[in-house]
């Protein structure tokens, strides 16, 4: 039997109800997905507006909550930064639903690989056992793992607006009107709760940022790595539907999305494009690092306590962003109690989308919306991601010029420009895109009549 057209819609309906689809449909779906993913480059090109999401980890009901808060597919354009499976009780339903949506609306949803999308990790952290339990054999796990091997390693978002056009949502109860910037100022960051109410709003370069930020940072449960100042985190809340609106100056660089972070073996995005990704995640090397590394408050590179990947400091991020004409790196991979956390003068952000992680951590989740820059409207998206210009110029807006020479050609040129820039002693960083965070809590367990067996979290007893 084949899974196309109405069958696909049926499968989506069934999965949305948190019911697994039959094994033969999974096989078909995975085959279709692979055909689609194989066409994508290692770094997928994505145009704003887009909603960027972090780890899901099989928390199916919270994924539904995410769609409620962020808007449904295909109305909202989504980018999921990996770790769909493991830990939660519904890895299978979560991943298959995302995969169905990918096959059904390939241009409205982008999936990139997380470190849990691997054979080895899923045998330890639950997905393998879950497949065995739900199907009685490891076949479905095997089909999914074959899809994992084809997932892209990163995404490059271009055309994001530098400032948000403010939502006209009401203020959250706790928000102080006085603390909001003037209505004519450029909004850089806005944080909304799950009801679409404004919790925080920061104007670009405003002084009030650091104040408001430290207030939100006082959660003693924060597990975040020690952050250099200033770091911004959002407090608890929950979401509304997406209207990725906004337009402004066109001088923001692109946004690189990866699951983990950077690699000492990778200094340009083009080098990511050259990797051979269609394999199990290796134990070391560039591909491993992209999926495993973490930013940390250190200089340069450090050893990771995870035993794979590296730690990297602010200098590494700033240099990488500068060299690659990025204004921001968005990544996931680390639990953040407040749902998101900006570090290193907002050059990198962690987005975490699994609320009450493992039904134990008590954290809130977030998604990041980047608005569309009006001037980008005519750009043609190339879904294989071979845009080539990602490592391109220092000149403002040059990332909008597709460089048809492809990956290899631009390197020497880039370096020359970069070194002349550095020689001039200019250290100007790109302004980041306007960022709208929607923060949400875990879905109520027995919501919407779905089969939600009560999860039990382990403690030391």
């Amino acid at each position: 039997m084949s899974i196309g057209g109405s069958d696909l819609d049926k499968a989506i309906t069934q999965l949305r109800a948190c019911r697994p689809i039959p094994e033969n449909q999974v096989r078909e779906l995975c085959y279709k997905a692979r055909e689609l993913l194989i066409e994508e480059g290692n770094v997928v090109g994505v145009d704003a507006p887009v909603t960027i999401c972090g780890d899901i980890h099989g928390q199916f009901h919270d994924l539904m909550e995410l769609f409620r808060v962020g808007g449904d597919v295909p109305d909202t354009n989504y980018l999921f930064m990996g770790d769909f499976v493991d830990r939660g009780f519904y890895s299978l339903e979560s991943f298959l639903l995302l995969l169905c949506l990918k096959v059904r609306y390939p241009d409205r949803i982008t999936l990139i690989r997380g470190n849990h999308e691997s054979r080895q990790i899923t045998t330890v952290y639950g997905f393998y056992d879950e497949c065995l339990r739900k199907y009685g054999s490891a076949n479905v796990w095997r089909y999914c793992c074959e899809v994992f091997d084809y997932l892209a390693l990163g995404a490059l978002v271009s055309g994001a607006a530098t400032s948000l056009s403010p939502t006209d949502g009401p203020l959250a109860e706790t928000t102080n009107v006085e603390s909001l910037p003037d209505s004519d100022s450029e909004i850089e960051i806005e944080t909304l709760n799950a009801n679409g109410e404004i919790m925080y709003r920061y104007a670009r370069n405003s002084d009030s940022q650091s104040n408001a930020v430290s207030g939100a940072n006082s959660n003693p449960a924060s597990s975040s790595p020690a952050a250099p100042t200033p770091s911004r985190t959002g407090p608890a809340g929950t979401g509304a539907t997406s209207s990725a609106n906004g337009s402004s100056r066109n001088d923001t660089g692109a946004v690189l999305c990866v699951h983990g972070g950077l690699s000492p073996l990778i200094d340009t995005i083009d080098k990511i494009r050259l990797l051979d990704r269609k394999q199990e995640v290796p134990h070391e090397g560039a591909m491993c690092d992209l999926l495993w590394s973490d930013p940390d408050d250190i200089d340069g590179w450090g050893l990771s306590p995870r035993g794979a990947g590296f730690l990297f400091g602010a200098d590494i991020v700033k240099c990488f962003n500068h060299k690659n004409d990025l204004s921001l790196i968005a990544r996931a991979h680390q639990l953040v109690m407040e749902g998101f956390k900006e570090m290193f003068d907002s050059t990198i952000v962690t987005v975490w989308s699994a609320p009450n992680y493992c039904y134990r951590c008590g954290n809130v989740a977030a998604i990041l919306e980047l608005g569309e820059d009006g001037s980008n409207a005519g750009f043609v998206r190339r879904s294989n991601g071979e845009r080539g210009g990602g490592g391109g110029g220092w000149a403002l807006g040059s990332n909008d010029e597709p460089n048809r020479n492809g990956g290899g050609g631009g390197g020497a040129n880039d370096n020359r420009r970069l070194s002349s820039v550095l020689a001039d002693g200019m250290q100007r960083m790109r302004d980041g895109p306007g960022r709208r965070y929607r923060v949400f809590e875990a879905a109520p367990q027995d919501s919407r009549g779905m089969p939600a067996k009560k999860p039990v979290a382990d403690y030391f007893l």
């Binding site: 449960a221 953040v336 009450n356 134990r360």
Partner: protein
């Protein structure tokens, strides 16, 4: 909150093990429904021992801990725990081992007494016997009758346990009847009782007699996830019974606690609500939320010569050698770093002692064990 309606049949069968509940809980009957829900709670608390046993087995099988006895007690088929739980169990067990070892090796030739409250299926006694061949240990374990009876069955079933119940050189103990819940020898004692019966002791009603408990031997009392299930005033009375009645001054006595802390942050609140769905409640967690509260409570009990408290994150960082960290880190790929740190920061080891200070046994034993900053 809706009061559970107890199923009388379960109540009856759960009483099978013991009569000690009636040995005075210091309270009158508050109506059968209230009494019923208390029984359900006690059953839930008794059941926590198999959680601990299972975690221990998982750690042993993966090489975190060396413990040839753990498996002999676990009733459930061994299930591999997540790497972060294994790491946490490793830290818990080796931290307490560290404090106990320092006690054992201070004046090694003198007799030493250890009382394990809510010992469950803990194997520490047997491990100590293997490790300190010449030590003179008087070991006591206390738990609910149902748990001690189950333990006793295993003690008799396995020769490697059975032969260690008496001091070296003495003949094996005779086998006991299947209904036995208590065991006594000069070196190992299993007492079946509800600890709360120690709380209600007064001049008129002395506390239950604990055979072979020696009032003159330096005594280390262990509560590894046990007293946390009791009400704070009860715990206070139980310790008063130990410090004043069972082991009066000037005999050195110390208490080592392992229990959760930080109930008020997001993780702590979630823990409390998750456990309450299993009918497990942690009264002293709320009473002593932070390390400083733990230190103060130990002082109030009468451990006047020293108190220290550290969280298990600190223990992993500061007590575990680099070589050992590397060995442990190599056992399993651990992807849950943030969650692990969060978890480790929510459990503590707190210990205090009364030994006359300075030259006292515990003061010397634990002189070089670092305390954590913060109140």
């Amino acid at each position: 909150m809706a009061e559970e309606i107890p199923n009388l049949k379960t109540l009856l069968s759960s009483r099978r093990g013991g009569s000690s509940r009636s040995r005075g809980r210091g309270r009158g009957f508050l109506g059968s429904s209230h009494e019923g829900s208390e029984v359900l709670r006690d059953n839930a608390v008794r059941g926590t021992d198999q959680d601990a046993a299972g975690s221990r087995v998982s750690c042993v099988e993966l090489g975190y801990l060396h413990d040839p006895y753990a498996k002999l007690f676990a009733t459930q088929a061994s299930t591999r725990r997540l790497p972060l739980l294994n790491r946490g169990t490793y830290v818990r067990t080796s931290a307490i081992d560290n404090l106990v070892d320092r006690f054992m090796t201070t004046d090694p030739e003198t007799r030493k007494q250890i009382v394990s409250l809510g010992a469950g299926t803990d194997t520490r006694y047997f491990r100590l016997r293997d490790k300190y061949l010449d030590a003179q240990i008087v070991y006591h374990e206390i738990d609910f009758p149902a748990n001690t009876a189950a333990k006793l069955i295993n003690l008799q079933r396995h020769a490697q346990l059975h032969t260690k119940l008496t001091p070296k050189g003495l003949p094996n103990p005779p086998s006991l009847g299947p209904a036995a819940a208590e065991y006594h020898s000069p070196t190992y004692n299993l007492h079946s009782l509800d600890l709360r019966s120690l709380a209600s002791a007064s001049d008129d009603t002395p506390p239950p007699r604990l055979p072979n408990l020696d009032p003159s031997v330096p005594t280390l009392i262990l509560s590894e996830m046990c007293l946390v299930y009791l009400q704070a005033p009860n715990v206070s009375s139980i310790l008063s019974t130990f410090l004043k009645t069972y082991i009066p001054a000037p005999t050195p006595v110390a208490l080592v606690l392992y229990e959760p802390i930080l109930p008020d942050d997001a993780f702590g609140r979630t823990m409390i609500s998750n456990l309450s769905t299993r009918n497990i409640h942690l009264p002293t967690l709320l009473a002593y939320p932070e390390l400083g509260d733990q230190r103060r409570r130990l002082k109030t009990y009468g451990f006047s010569d020293g108190v220290k408290a550290v969280d298990t994150y600190f223990i992993w960082q500061e007590w575990v050698s680099e070589a050992e960290k590397e060995r442990v880190a190599g056992l399993e790929m651990l992807d849950e770093i943030e969650e692990l740190n969060l978890l480790l920061k929510h459990y503590c080891v707190a210990w205090g002692w009364r030994d006359g200070g300075n030259e006292g046994a515990f003061s010397r034993a634990w002189k070089h064990v670092g305390d954590q900053e913060g109140d």
